[in-house]
Symmetry: C2
Subunit: 336 residues, 2 copies
Amino acid sequence: MNIGEIARRAGVSRSTVSYALSGKRAVSDETRRRIQAVIDELDYRPNAAARALKEGRTRTLGLVIPPASLRLTDMQLGFVASVVEAAARADLDVLLSPSGGDHDRSFERIVSGRRVDGVILMEIRLEDERVTRLRQTGLPFVTIGHTANPEGTCWVDVDYATLVARCVHHLTDLGHRHIALVNRSAELVASGYGPAQRALVGFTEAIAQRGLTGVDLCCADDATAGEECLRRLRDEHPDVTAIVTINEAALPGIQRALEQARIAVPADLSITGVLARHWAEDFRPPLTAADVPTEMGTRAVDLLLERIATPDEQPRHLLFTPPISLRGSTGPAPRR
Amino acid sequence: MNIGEIARRAGVSRSTVSYALSGKRAVSDETRRRIQAVIDELDYRPNAAARALKEGRTRTLGLVIPPASLRLTDMQLGFVASVVEAAARADLDVLLSPSGGDHDRSFERIVSGRRVDGVILMEIRLEDERVTRLRQTGLPFVTIGHTANPEGTCWVDVDYATLVARCVHHLTDLGHRHIALVNRSAELVASGYGPAQRALVGFTEAIAQRGLTGVDLCCADDATAGEECLRRLRDEHPDVTAIVTINEAALPGIQRALEQARIAVPADLSITGVLARHWAEDFRPPLTAADVPTEMGTRAVDLLLERIATPDEQPRHLLFTPPISLRGSTGPAPRR
DNA sequence: ATGTTCTGTCGAACCGATTCGGCGAACCGA
DNA sequence: TCGGTTCGCCGAATCGGTTCGACAGAACAT
């Protein structure tokens, strides 16, 4: 079922079949119809490997995801989905590689076996040796999140610092004077995870700008930790009247702790989330939060395709600062 | 940076380099060392497309996932992760295809462009035309879940009927006489979604076996629906003292409704979950539930590799019935 | 009638690996 | 010393596409 078979049955040469399919040279209508008929009959589709070999491109993108040991957040999952769908729309396939910071076999295979035309790298650390590796291979790539010195790379990211700062300003505008940040896990922060670090920076600066003092807490990415975290917060910092959190996975636990302690939201305590996908709607009351930029995956694919087409262009980057949707979880600071 | 370049620099022929790498013919130690040195120096890795073309296999598996519009459950996500990792361990890559019931371009490309050696198909419907399509192409495949007549196919599935039945028996043993099933969404049940249908069958049979009457409810896969569902259940069936649910995503909502209505678990109401991954631990009290069979992804890859190696063997299938872990959410039925 | 352009098609080279047959040299026993 | 193995390597064919140069014949201009 190769191109030679089609050519034989249609009574033409192999090159004519190829031209009929690609349209790169004129083929008479009569011939094209005959070829198409044979193709339809045999349900022929060109062999991807042969095409890749000759053309020097695979029509495939690599998507490097965090290893299974790390639980993907709802937003990351949405990102993977949108990348895959955007690629499918562009008639590209997506090769998945689970890989940690060290470059393992799967990553190496994809990168240096020329299996893909470009790579999208998720969950970048501020210092990331996969980026170094990709740079030296010359394979086009786009990172989600950016490294400490991102010059010369393409990236897409969420402006966590600004989002957190906006949340802080929103809360101070409502009269809150004691605000807490519930960050991601301590290990993530320590390991140089950009979003966690930039959230902290944005928080600290916004707090300072308003002349306040803030509390920042780390919290593991699960409900139990969220519950514990809120309890600790009420214990150790009873004067805190508002919370900003980038920890989506902790929200169910926070919710539970609130209900058990009979804390009314927003009467007793205001909460804002940064990028809570499903949980913003599911929280009670619905959570004031920045909208998840669902187009990030699509735009990452766009950038990568640009980069593949014109590798010598100046690398571009996109910083998303989605608007904050006011829902019911924030209100005026309670009177003392 | 192809095999010819390596051969030239090492002063041998291309075939010798190939044999040195594959070990399929003897190569002298001296020659092998010289070749290896050049390979290490240039960081050479064979071109995947050329190899695939010649060998007739791609060393790649296809994983067909539900389209992004459907929100993946936590368990499905875990499954994807374990498939990818198992494949990586076997030095195989995974090509992702988001696809619904209709065979779209992405699915067709993977299936008939010979881009993969085999396919793993998730979220099978009882009547699924992708299965039909795969059967006619002759490409090895394994399905997660099984169709109405699964003869002649390889599959891996969870025995939802038995699991639900076991939960029912556990609850009746504790004295419960009015038990409700919280199923997945009405649309899923209507569209012939196996797990939802088999859960219902297992529930109905177990209830009948004990001479009781049961209530079964459909519930969309989100917290809000779970909250609403529990409220309706208490309203319309106040005598129900125990719940069995296969709807993991609804659990946070159920939890919220329970706390708002001041219903004590398990004193007032017992709950068991079927396959709740993170939520079993995160629920308060921790949820009595069947353990998620984390090895399912790995075993699916194993089956597929077997199938690829020996396509004429009788197709095998695996039905997982993981044990139910008793946690704190079930207890004796309350006295009237 | 002759030269020129255009159209549609073909043949052959090529992409980068694998693999088979063959060949020279070394080695063996008789 | 000679025939037969064994060892190590090479050359060429092959996988299934794409693409370039060539070329026959029609159309057109002079």
